[in-house]
Structure formats: C-alpha cells, structure tokens
Symmetry: C2
Amino acid sequence: MKRIDAVFAALGDPTRRQILRLVTESAPVTATALADRLPITRQAVVKHLGVLQEAALVSAERVGRETHWTPTLAPLAHVDTWVDDVAARWDARLDRLTDVVSERRRAPR
Amino acid sequence: MKRIDAVFAALGDPTRRQILRLVTESAPVTATALADRLPITRQAVVKHLGVLQEAALVSAERVGRETHWTPTLAPLAHVDTWVDDVAARWDARLDRLTDVVSERRRAPR
DNA sequence: TCAATGTGCAACCGCTTGGTTGCACGTTGC
DNA sequence: GCAACGTGCAACCAAGCGGTTGCACATTGA
C-alpha cells in the first residue's frame, strides 16, 4: 500500500483522528492512558495506534513496562499536497473554460 | 454524521479519490463514462459518487437520460483546517517544551 | 414505433474493520 | 518474593463496505 493511501485510510476513522489529537496533546502517552479518556477498550486503542503507526503518523518507544507513543506528523504533508493538487487541477479547468468563453466573445460564430 | 467525518471517510478510499480526480478533470461527466476508465462496474462508481455526494464533494444534475457529475471541492478546506489544527497543537507543545528547557538552563537545579 | 442507451433500485456476497474478551508474559515496587 | 501493573497476542463477533448481477424504467434517435 502506498504511503498516501495509508495516511488517508488512517485518517478516515473519526476515533483514529481523535486519538491522533490526544497523542499530540499529551505525548509521550501510553495506550492505557489514552483508553482512560476514550469510550473504548485499551485493545481497540492499540489497534488504532497500529494503523496510525503504519501510516507513520505516530511512533512507539518501549520504556520499561510502558510503551510511549509520540506523533510524527510529517505524513500529513501528503494530505495537503493531494488536496492542493486536486484543487489546482479544477482551477486550471475553470481557467480553460474562461479562456474558451472569452475567446468566443472575441470571435463570435 | 458531521461534515468533516463524511469528508475524511469519503477520501479514505483510494478508488474514491481517483474518481474525484477524474470528475475534476472531465466534468461534467457521467457515471458510465467514469466506469469506462475504471476497472469496476458502473454500479460501483455510482455508489462511490453517492458517498462523495454525501460529503458534498460532488453534485449531480440530471440532463435528459444522463446524470452529469461535477466536483464541489469546498469541503476540502475542512481537511486543510483539521490538518493545520493538529499540526499547530503539536508545534505549540514543542514550543512549550523548548520554554521549559531554556528555563532550566537559565535556572539549573 | 421500437430498439438502443443511460440510469436507478434491490438483492446478494466475501472480506475487512472496529470492537470485545481472555490470557500469558515482562516490569515494577513494596 | 510476589502482587500489581502495563503490555502483547489471539480468537471471536457483528456490522459495514466495496463490489457484482439482475432487472425495470425513462429517454433518445433512426
């Protein structure tokens, strides 16, 4: 799976977005601590963190018996890039349409 | 479902992102025409368009026996906003960490 | 008029996904 | 030493999702 696919898929779930937010707000944080602030099990949180990790949006570090999670938000740039790209294509098409219209105005059939 | 949830969920599927791209490139376009350029059925395309429409990323207009699809990319701004927000929170936390460090340097224990 | 075309609706299917529970294992601290 | 704690792994489950097929209906054009 391509990197950008993983990122968009990871952000596709609202719970996962909330977890990413919580991690950025209280990093380094543990899965158990996150579960305390969420209406789901620690195991569910761990699964979500796994998905986020595959998208390289968080990273884990084992410290003693705890696992500390930290955000690594660089991949979010891919999202911005993709959005900008689509928007740019659409803008370009609108410009071309405008050109056609003004061309017709200058040289009407 | 909140607007932003619908948008992220819609963009979560790679086929759907591709469809949105194709729509922006050749709007107004028909579901059948899109299916010709994709390895999936027209019905699958229609379903994807339905999801995109619920996220207000495309709009449909019936013209005779055809349905013309056009992109309405405004909701993409929500994505940018969310990304910027999370990134900003993280930046703020890093700044605060930096403050703590320099404070400790100024007045070491 | 009538065949061709584009569409919408509904049923169906396999697989993924978000979530849970149960349990075994390493770590910590009294 | 041993109980408490945090974690990881595995099995399981219902629901949703991406996709297909079949069919009926409206529109078009020769």
